[in-house]
């Protein structure tokens, strides 16, 4: 249990390690001739805020000469070109006095540069981020840049413009509320639970707004690296870290799912009458998950990742069952190993990256931004430990992914954590946390290190398929409903990794859909498990028999959950299997056969669990049991809070089963972009090109 204590230090450690690898921002020694200095109005350093005006968005910054001789500005231009699209279209830059792209600035004087963005009336891009690169005769400074940003007004105003930050900060507000209540010795008062649930509800509504606001047909070619709802500000300049968050098609559905799962978890926690400390840990977990999903900066991502593991250890160890400490220790060990691997991978990747500009235009020697890393040719980097850097970094990254997903043989922490952990935490763990692994693989593994993805794609798909087989077979012999969910989770992750490892748009989309669908199924089944645990203190189907028959609503919800988990066509879970298998078939047909076998075993496991749990008659001894005596010997049906939490999930499972547009439309574009970057000559890409 020393590991949780150490965990907090990781955050500090990463700062220190990355700081060692990064040099201070460029500061050239003074030389002869003019010296360039860029300044934005008000902010000084930048980024330049473009404001409405002149039929679009306009902003001005100054190129000053702080040297003793005239400064020749030979070129001002937007960063990026047709082959490397960075900013949205219809952006332009010029000198304010009408001069062309070159000018001479007298000593002590300055020249204004106008940046304008004139989007169409029906503009799909709601934001513009970019840099104006200035080349001058100041050789010491080299190319300098001024960052700029424009934000169209949103229907939620300031809240809409900072929705992702608020989604991360929302749960942390619960932590602060609990801390304040704790100071007043009222942390366990019921109002703390009510307020927490209220904040979680607001969090869900914000996520729903973000989803509604998201443009599904926007891709990388549209600018802003294909991300939307972007917020970007310098966080720790010395190590080139930024508060850089944004969502694309692969993350927006996951974000909404995570917010939904969090809301359900807080509802269940409220019914469990959990105290403030528990709610704070749950909130930390939710904040960490949202952080991982929206982070586009490796340091932000790592900090959020650490928050997730720390919160899991606290929740499982602090409020779990009889073997909670062992289960928490397993989570901690898994977390430490995974975090260490991730830290080393991130440090190596950042160290190998080239110079780039921060959002304000500062030049830094290395980058932590995921989109910038994707422009680095890691193949040219010197080897690490005698192996190509890209392979070492990717292997470390995949180790972290394999632990959290989890992939056999790193999966043993999950069944114990789900079985021993409290119900509401289990819902979050099974429904959302495990999805972070494949998501991390897509966001960083494919998004930032495409060469590594090409190298490891086959291994990922193979591990995924074998993991699915193993977990499906193990699921067939489980007696505890939560352990069953744990193994089906491993199987689903296997399907997702198989799809992602195929590197085709269909496969990647299938892998990502698997995470969303699994969230629905896990919430439904684990929600029913939590209800059973609360009523009769067991989830052992061997003991329970078909007791749930007494509770028709819970029975239907559990059946729907099992159906989604199984991937029954007509329910949301089917799309993941269809797309992952279709996408992977072209590359790994033999693995597709193996995965099909695993699906058959998975069907057998689900049907067995369904028969034990949902069919037949309950053991008559339950009628006289102490747990059910207050209810007349019958299992009480779903309470209002359970209906509120689970019925919308079941409805979503049905709707998405026949109308997958809400999740697939956005994923299709992002998966295509991802696949094109990773494997431009892949079968699907060639098929689409027709060559």
């Amino acid at each position: 249990m020393i590991t949780p204590a150490l965990r907090g230090l990781w955050i500090g450690l990463v700062v220190a390690l990355v700081a060692v690898s990064a040099s201070p921002a460029v500061a050239g020694a003074p030389g002869r001739g003019g010296r360039i200095a860029l300044s934005a109005p008000g902010a000084g350093r930048g980024p330049l805020e473009l404001r409405p005006g002149a039929g679009g968005w306009v902003g001005e910054f100054a190129i000053g000469n702080v040297g003793a001789e005239p400064l020749t500005v030979s070129r001002i231009a937007l960063q990026g070109d047709a082959d490397d699209v960075r900013s949205p279209s219809r952006l332009s830059v010029r000198f304010a006095d009408g001069a062309a792209t070159s000018a001479i600035v007298a000593p002590g004087a300055s020249k204004s540069v106008v940046v304008s963005w004139t989007p169409d009336k029906s503009a799909r891009m709601q934001q513009a981020f970019g840099h104006v690169v200035v080349t001058s005769s100041d050789e010491d400074s080299g190319e300098v840049a001024m960052g700029f940003r424009a934000q169209m007004p949103t229907s939620l105003g300031w809240v809409g413009a900072h929705v992702l930050s608020l989604l991360v900060a929302g749960p942390l507000l619960i932590v602060l509320i609990v801390a304040a209540a704790n100071a007043l010795r009222r942390a366990d008062d019921p109002w703390v639970g009510h307020v927490s649930t209220g904040v979680a509800a607001i969090e869900f509504l914000l996520a729903a707004w973000a989803y509604r606001h998201f443009g599904v047909d926007i891709g990388r070619a549209d600018g802003n690296e294909g991300f939307q709802l972007v917020e970007r500000a310098v966080w720790i300049r010395s190590i080139a870290s930024e508060w850089y968050v944004g969502v694309d098609g692969t993350s927006i559905a996951l974000l909404l799912m995570t917010a939904s799962v969090a809301f359900v978890a807080f509802l269940v926690a409220g019914a469990e009458r959990r105290g403030g400390a528990y709610l704070a840990a749950l909130a930390l977990l939710c904040a960490g998950m949202v952080g991982v999903i929206v982070a586009l900066d490796l340091l932000v991502l790592f900090a959020a990742w650490e928050a997730v593991w720390l919160a899991l250890v606290l929740l499982v160890g602090g409020w779990g069952g009889a073997r909670a400490q062992i289960a928490a220790a397993k989570v901690a060990v898994a977390g430490v190993v995974g975090s260490l691997a991730l830290l080393l991978a991130f440090t190596a990747l950042s160290h190998a990256s080239g110079p780039t500009f921060l959002v304000d235009g500062s030049l830094v020697p290395h980058t932590l931004a995921v989109p910038e890393l994707s422009r680095t040719a890691f193949v040219a980097s010197p080897p690490l430990l005698g192996m190509p850097l890209v392979e070492v970094a990717w292997a470390l990254l995949f180790l972290a992914v394999a632990i959290v997903s989890p992939v056999v043989p790193f999966h043993r922490w999950l069944p114990d954590a789900l079985e021993q952990g409290p119900g509401s935490a289990g819902i979050v763990l099974g429904g959302a946390v495990v999805g972070l692994g494949p998501y991390l693989l897509v966001r960083v593994g494919l998004g930032a290190v495409p060469e590594g993805a090409r190298w490891a794609g086959g291994a990922v798909a193979t591990l995924g398929a074998l993991s699915a087989v193993w977990a499906s077979l193990c699921a067939m012999v489980q007696q505890d409903l939560r352990r069953f969910v744990a193994y089906t989770t491993v199987a689903t992750s296997g399907v997702a990794l198989y799809g992602v490892g195929a590197l085709t748009p269909v496969g990647i989309a299938g892998g990502m859909v698997a995470l969303v669908a699994h969230g629905l199924s896990a919430v439904l089944v684990l929600g029913c498990a939590a209800a059973l645990e609360e009523r009769v203190n067991t989830c052992d189907v061997g003991r329970l028999g078909a007791l749930i028959v007494d509770a028709p609503t819970l029975r239907v919800l559990a059946a729907v959950g099992l159906g989604v988990s199984l991937g029954a066509p007509g329910l949301a879970g089917s799309w993941s299997i269809v797309l992952a298998l279709l996408g992977g078939f072209v590359r790994y047909p033999v693995l597709a056969v193996i995965l099909t076998f695993s699906l058959l075993a998975s069907a057998a496991a689900h049907l067995r669990m369904g028969r034990l749990l949902l069919m037949g008659r309950a053991d008559p001894s339950w009628r006289q049991s102490a747990q059910l005596a207050p209810f007349g010997g019958r299992l009480p049906d779903a309470a209002p809070h359970e209906l509120l939490a689970l019925v919308p999930m079941a409805a979503a499972a049905f709707v998405l089963g026949v109308w997958p547009s809400p999740i697939l439309a956005s994923m299709a574009v992002s998966a295509r972009d991802c696949s094109v970057v990773v494997d431009p000559d892949g079968p699907d890409a060639r098929l689409l090109r027709g060559d």
């Binding site: 249990m1 070619a221 397993k330 590359r587 049907l607 026949v658 997958p660 547009s661």
Partner: protein, 533 residues
């Protein structure tokens, strides 16, 4: 080429095919909610109610009316090849695959839908005039589920809709089989799962086989999507029109326009006279032109209509058959990669059709008429899929004998088993007594196949199931007793270490962790603010 895409030309975009399914789902939802409500209030769930009876009869009656109405409309169509077509959600293209539920009502599906509706409606009327019985709402729900499964399966155009239709049909069968004995229901569902996997696996194989070949480990693309513009008489003289009833969701641009002129599916959208370049952007993407399909059309002064047809890899056997017929020369050698793929996939589908259509274990139910309705409608599901797949025979001529044989065998056996169920017998020998329908030879053939299934196929399935169970047991044991050991040891050490730290510091690990988190957060935030000033 015109002949091969004739079916495409005659597809009419319909907005009403959903009427053949949705009333049933609403009725099913009503009965499910009514069951839950009664069970929650402690009343006998599933008991007879007048409203339940009305809803059941009404939903099935509505669908029957809708099916017959569509059939009448189809009857009035000027050409026999006409079909009504509807994509339920707006189309999404992921990679090269159109992902949506597509329904098509042609003559074959219309006839089967009408048969299923009339049959189930007759059973529904009979149920409605019977004295009230315990569990009646379950009977209504099972009838609705049965009919919904059959109709979606019959209307399915492509893998996605077929998977959904088959699943509903399988669910209905599993429910009926498990009415009294859950294990029997599980067996039916397991068999159905295998059928679904064969269906999907075959479709995936064909999808890629239609695009290229595997050369060792590499896949070489041979045929990408194509676009054809087929002229036809104009809808109005002197005007030009384009029609696209494929690739739902595809945006169509004319010349240099940045705004699409229409989104598929659409019929007779006017375009100006003269020479035009039509660009079809399949899928919803960000306006990139790479990968768009382009075709040139010339609208003369007297006007002309153009049917746009998108060909290429597809999850629909009908589309694949069209593409193969129109784009490739017939193979000179019998075992080209295409022919091998088609042959193997057709064999796989024969197994899948058998698994889904031949009922098994649906005899021990207290609702024999519902069972008969289910059996007779589901018996047609597999053969219909094979019939749809017969479009692919152009590449696998050697299957021309096998496929009809398989269809006949499945129909004979399935109907024989259903007849046995109707006769109240639990033995396949009841087929022999059913000589009213089956004369001696087909009956004996059916009996032979039933026995073959029982003693060979079932035996194989049981051995496989036993093997899976043994593998699961071994894997589970290994997982618990071997794989978990290192983790357990680590965890025990960590727990011991944690207790040492707690006793040393005098605080719980949780408190220490929160303190460190707070400190780290404060340091990082402060550093962030400080470094940016």
């Amino acid at each position: 080429m015109l002949d091969h895409v004739g079916a495409v030309q005659h597809v009419v975009v319909s907005g009403t095919l959903w009427l053949l399914v949705v009333p049933l789902l609403l009725g099913l939802g009503f009965h499910a909610l009514s069951y839950i409500r009664r069970a929650r209030s402690g009343r006998l769930p599933g008991a007879h109610t007048v409203v339940g009876r009305l809803v059941g009869l009404g939903s099935i009656g509505l669908v029957t009316g809708a099916a017959l109405g569509h059939m009448l409309v189809l009857l009035r169509a000027p050409t026999l090849g006409r079909a009504y077509w509807q994509a339920i959600p707006s189309g999404i293209r992921v990679g090269g695959a159109d992902v949506c539920v597509v329904l098509v009502l042609d003559w074959v599906s219309a006839a089967l839908c009408a048969f299923a509706c009339v049959l189930v409606f007759a059973v529904a009327v009979w149920s409605a005039v019977r004295p009230p019985s315990e569990g009646e709402s379950k009977v209504w729900a099972s009838l609705e589920l049965t009919l919904a499964g059959a109709l979606v399966s019959f209307l399915a155009d492509g893998l996605i809709a077929a998977l959904i239709g088959w699943s509903i049909a399988i669910a209905a069968g599993a429910w009926l089989a498990g009415w009294k004995e859950p294990r029997a229901g599980v067996a039916v569902a397991g068999r159905g799962a295998a059928a679904l996997l064969t269906l999907a696996f075959g479709a995936f194989w064909l999808f890629w086989a239609s695009a290229g070949t595997w050369d060792g480990r590499e896949f070489s693309v041979r045929q990408g999507p194509g676009l054809f513009a087929l002229p036809s008489p104009p809808a109005a003289a002197g005007s030009g029109f384009i029609t696209l009833t494929h690739a739902p969701g595809a945006a169509v641009y004319v010349d240099e326009a940045r705004v699409p002129i229409a989104t598929a599916p659409f019929v007779d959208v006017p375009i100006p006279r003269g020479f035009h370049t039509v660009r079809v952007h399949v899928g919803r993407a960000s306006g990139e032109q790479e990968g768009d399909l382009v075709v040139d059309v010339n609208v003369p002064d007297q006007g002309e209509s153009f049917d746009l047809a998108v060909s290429g890899p597809s999850l629909s056997p009908r589309d694949l058959g069209l593409a193969w017929s129109s784009e490739r020369a017939r193979p000179s050698a019998p075992w080209t990669p295409d022919a091998v793929a088609v042959t193997v996939v057709l064999c796989i589908w024969v197994v899948g059709a058998w698994l889904v259509s031949v009922p098994q274990g649906v005899f021990e139910t207290s609702v024999p008429l519902a069972t008969v309705a289910h059996g007779m409608t589901t018996a047609l599901v597999g053969p219909l899929w094979l019939l749809r797949a017969s479009d692919l025979l152009v590449l696998a001529p050697r299957m021309k004998l096998v496929l009809p044989g398989a269809v006949a065998a499945i129909l004979i056996v399935a109907m024989g088993v259903v007849w046995a169920a109707a006769a109240g017998r639990r033995d396949g020998r009841a087929i022999v007594t059913a000589s009213v329908i089956f004369e001696r030879v087909p009956t004996r053939l059916g009996l032979l196949l039933v026995r073959f299934e029982r003693w060979v196929l079932d035996a194989v399935i049981r051995v496989a199931a036993a093997a899976i169970r043994v593998a699961a047991w071994i894997t589970g044991r290994f997982d618990t007793r071997v794989l978990s050991k290192p983790g357990e040891a680590f965890a025990a050490s960590a727990v011991w270490l944690g207790r040492c730290v707690e006793s040393l510091v005098g605080m719980s690990i949780g408190t220490i962790a929160w303190a460190i988190v707070g400190l780290a957060a404060a340091v990082v935030a402060a550093h962030g603010f400080w470094s940016n000033r």
